[in-house]
Symmetry: C2
Subunit: 81 residues, 2 copies
């Protein structure tokens, strides 16, 4: 089973790494994530290659701690999978 989000500090953030079977699956996930991001007006830092996506979520205001809004956005991302 895939690991979920990891909470790290300095800066306070949530990170998750996802692996996909092929580029089409990666791309499909990124499309869904884009739709979610535009709807929520939140744009996580994303790294991706052919078959992986790394996500980093920070609080909306720089320097703030991860709170319920970030946890909720992370859960919404999980729902895309």
């Amino acid at each position: 089973m895939e690991q979920s989000w990891t909470h790290r500090s300095r800066p306070d953030r949530l990170e998750r790494r996802l692996e996909f079977a092929d580029y089409d699956s990666t791309r499909l996930f990124l499309e869904r994530l884009n739709t979610l991001s535009e709807r929520e007006g939140r744009f996580p830092d994303i790294s991706f290659g052919r078959t992986y996506v790394n996500l980093t979520l920070t609080a909306e205001a720089e320097g703030e701690a991860i709170g319920p809004r970030e946890e909720s956005f992370a859960a919404a991302i999980d729902d895309l999978l």
Copy 2:
């Protein structure tokens, strides 16, 4: 003027950082890059957030040096801007 590609080693790679005015411009560039990647069957490592994109190109075969094919793909990416 924006800096172009930087050639780094270990592993041998080309890197470029791009800044965009807003998410729409970032997104438009990523869409074009996706089309190019699918056409060429090459998938660089990409990091992005709301207004930036970082690109890393390596040789197709792991451990190989950057050659004319990578330089040419980098130039094709530049043409998307």
